[in-house]
Amino acid sequence: MAGPAPASCRTEAWRLRILYFAWVRQRVGVAEEAVSPPEAVRDVAGLVAWLAARSPGHASAFADPRQIRAAVNQDFATPDQAVAPGDEIAFFPPVTGG
């Protein structure tokens, strides 16, 4: 059947794969999770605010947003970058390689 999907289907379709690294992973307690945020979550900053409310571990990980870096689909991303269904979004501390 043609036409837009009913709104009730959105949460099912709007799935994001979230990855955590280094101390962000340790504080959240898992290395990755699949989430279906509400429609109001449109960008990386909105996703951070929504994730921070999921558990005390998430709240601890995202307590200081200045210490968090993000990547969307394996490219570094700024807080205002849009997120879309199916995206792989990673959160981690500033990098310390080399």
């Binding site: 990855l19 690294f21 280094a22 101390w23 990547a71 394996q74 490219d75 570094f76 990673a90 981690f92 501390p93 500033p94 990098v95 310390t96 390689g97 080399g98």
Partner: protein, 153 residues
């Protein structure tokens, strides 16, 4: 001419073997610059544990190497970064750059190590002999070192 070679691996590497591999059969290389980063034993450090973001790491290193390839007239480039548990004295990272003349090789080598410290998704955790452990914090001087390579607007 072969392009940049980028590897992320747990195993060690041999500087002489990698240099020989890069220069084998070549007669167009006049200068080969190398940088090897080693695990240093600060404050009773027992080991460094390097975590990375599989997939993104390789993409980021390839992008950084390609940037160097575009900025300088390189004829060879190898970047190897180790992950996992490393003890003091072990090599962590290798950068090799080759060019017809020394300036391009030396500058590109410095650029690569400065950029990969700030632009590739690796994280170091320090383990100490007494069992304590802490994540290494990013350094402002590393950002400053990377920023000196920013292209003029």
């Amino acid at each position: 001419m072969p392009g940049p070679v980028v590897r992320v691996q747990e195993a060690g590497f041999d500087l002489a073997a990698e240099a020989a591999r890069l220069t084998e059969g070549r007669t167009d290389i006049g200068g080969l610059a190398s940088f090897v980063g080693l695990c240093r034993a600060d404050d009773g450090l027992a080991a460094l544990v390097l975590e990375h973001y599989p997939g993104m790491t390789e993409r980021a290193l390839a992008r950084i190497a390609q940037e160097a390839w575009g900025r300088w007239p390189l004829t060879g480039c190898t970047v190897i970064h180790r992950v996992g548990r490393l003890v003091p004295g072990e090599p962590i990272v290798l950068v090799l750059t080759a060019s017809a003349h020394r300036a391009a090789a030396l500058d590109a080598c410095a650029f690569l190590i400065d950029w990969l410290k700030t632009s590739a998704p690796f994280w170091k955790r320090e383990e100490f002999a007494d069992g304590a452990s802490r994540w290494v914090a990013a350094k402002a001087e590393d950002d400053a070192a990377a920023a000196r390579w920013a292209k003029p607007a």
